[in-house]
């Protein structure tokens, strides 16, 4: 059993590393976008799934990180890694501010507030045409000057691995325990000595930082930024990815994002019907698997594994 798991893991690693050599340019682009969505979805899962802060403004932080990096690189000639770091820092500060402002908000009020923030940011980007390029977009220097997208794939993969590693480490730490306690019952968490204000602000700042990092990567890959990246439509897609995968597990949310992006692209020939199918999948998930389809799959695999390990009783 253990050997099979190791074998499967090694095969998966080889497949992931060799992926750019196995697919055409189109599917490589899809894979890079899937990696971008995976970071965003995992960071949203950290905020909403673990800490229970249902923000609908997460893509606004992707946009903020992307535009901060893009503008600093294009206007001030900052090196791209520094631009991306500045985007992360900007998102951490604004995320902390949003987290602090929303301290007394729960559920639909928090969602509406963050939608409003998202729209305000989008409209500011559209309006400040001279600085941001408005609806026409802002051209951004690419991260790599190569003909192949393979370096972006490996860079995105590394970003996802590091981001996911940090988030997993975080949720397994005492902070992760406090985030979940706040999600479950803020009053009880406070009575248990958890500094609720501090940790609510922290989780907003941390998850926004990861969104900003993903935004910076996205901007310097695509090469042009438009305000639509922070739109409510995009946010809906990220929420759907997290919910279908399982918002209360970083791994499930990440795999959910990767699979959903692949599914949406695989169904492209069905045009608008693919979104209908995607919506139907979301409805089925919410109705029958509130913890996500992957959580169900993980459970089934575990049970199958147990059955394989534990011998059945002999029938008399």
């Amino acid at each position: 059993m253990r050997a099979a798991q190791i074998g499967l893991g090694v095969a998966l690693c080889v497949l992931v590393l060799a992926f750019p050599q196995l697919v055409n340019a189109y599917w490589l682009t899809v894979a890079i976008l899937a990696l971008f969505y995976a970071i965003v979805t995992a960071s949203w899962a950290l905020l909403a799934g673990y800490a229970g802060q249902f923000s609908f403004g997460h893509m606004a932080f992707v946009s903020l990180g992307a535009y901060t990096s893009g503008l600093l690189v294009m206007s001030f000639g900052l090196p791209i890694p520094l631009g991306m770091a500045a985007g992360v820092a900007m998102c951490a500060v604004v995320g902390a501010g949003i987290g602090y402002t929303c301290l007394r908000m729960r559920g639909p009020y928090l969602a509406l507030f963050t939608v409003a923030f998202s729209e305000v940011l989008r409209i500011v980007i559209v309006s400040e045409n001279e600085v941001t390029g408005g609806s026409g977009g802002l051209e951004v220097t690419p991260l790599f000057h190569t003909r192949s997208d393979a370096p972006y794939y490996y860079f995105g993969l590394a970003l996802l691995a590091v981001s996911l590693g940090l988030m997993v480490w975080l949720v397994r730490s005492r902070w992760g325990l406090f985030f979940r306690a706040i999600r479950e019952n803020e009053e009880a968490a406070a009575a248990a000595g958890v500094k609720v204000v501090r940790f609510r602000v922290l989780v907003f700042a941390i998850s926004s930082s990861f969104a900003g990092l993903a935004g910076g990567f996205f901007g310097h890959y695509i090469g042009i930024l438009t305000p639509d990246i922070g739109s409510v439509d995009q946010m809906g897609l990220v929420v759907a990815m997290a919910v279908i995968g399982g918002a209360e597990s970083l791994y499930a949310a990440t795999i959910g994002a990767l699979l959903c992006e692949a599914l949406v692209e695989a169904l492209r020939s069905y045009e608008q019907w693919r979104m209908v199918l995607f919506g139907a999948l979301l409805l089925v998930t919410i109705r029958f698997a509130r913890n996500g389809l992957l959580a169900l799959a993980f459970q089934a695999v575990r049970q199958r594994g147990l059955r394989a390990v534990v011998p059945r009783k002999a029938t008399p």
Binding site: R174, E184, A189, A190
Partner: protein
């Protein structure tokens, strides 16, 4: 008003001076003075809506008083958050049990354990298991808290409060919805913890259980303290009888 049989020599743990709270036009607590010294086991009783829970909420940082002052260890604690009260070893349970439902029993215990300054996982886990053993819940440590029975949830909430190593514990209706056997078990547990030196303020409508348990009774009616004394003194207090008769 009868005099309180306070342990005059014992240090003051928590004190309310002129505590007042109103919700809109309703005066929930009116200029309440209440002090709890080390080693005391106080019962706080009164008819429904007399302000008992509001008093606890203010004395544990869950509600900000409209007027008055709170002192913890003779130090002003006005405006402190609930977590700050917890850090000052003021623990509580809730009228309606408040657990972290989708977290395991052990994780419920670890939250306050790890919220304490300089606590380590090993130390917190060891303490949590010791308390779970004391409460008879150690065999359930991996179970999600929402799957416990009502009585077990009450015990877990008490255990979670114990993880703060509280000097004073406010128990809001610990016997509500609990069968007589578990009620007796909870009484014994409180007595054991009291014998270890912890102070308690127990709010409940189960007068029989309260009489068995406490040394001192504080009675509230219409937001004010109307009696503070031994069980015998309070039992004979005419104002208390009138309050309970609804006159």
């Amino acid at each position: 008003m009868a005099d309180a049989p306070m342990l005059i020599e014992a240090p003051m743990l928590i004190e309310a001076r002129g505590l007042t709270k109103n919700f809109g036009g309703i005066l929930a607590v009116n200029a309440l003075d209440l002090a709890v010294r080390q080693g005391e086991l106080v019962g706080l009783i009164g008819p429904n809506g007399c302000g008992k829970t509001t008093t606890i909420n203010m004395l544990t940082g869950h509600l900000a008083p409209a007027a008055g002052h709170i002192l913890v260890h003779d130090t002003p604690a006005d405006g402190l958050s609930a977590s700050a009260f917890a850090a000052r070893k003021v623990g509580r349970t809730f009228q309606i049990t408040q657990l972290f439902g989708r977290m395991s029993v052990l994780e419920n215990m670890l939250v306050p354990g790890l919220a304490r300054a300089h606590a380590t996982w090993t130390e917190a886990t060891h303490t949590a298991r010791r308390h779970l053993d004391f409460l008879g819940l150690s065999h359930l440590e991996k179970l999600q808290a929402k799957n416990l029975s009502g009585g077990q949830q009450k015990l877990l909430e008490l255990g979670r409060a114990l993880m703060l190593d509280p000097e004073v514990l406010f128990l809001d209706e610990p016997f509500a919805g609990v069968n007589p056997f578990l009620r007796d078990e909870i009484i014994v547990l409180i007595q054991k913890l009291h014998a270890e030196g912890r102070s308690f303020v127990v709010v409940d409508h189960d007068i029989e259980a309260i009489q068995r348990l406490v040394q001192r009774l504080v009675v509230m009616a219409r937001g004010a303290k109307i009696a503070d004394g031994t069980v015998e003194e309070v039992r004979d207090n005419q104002e208390v009888l009138l309050a309970y008769a609804g006159a």
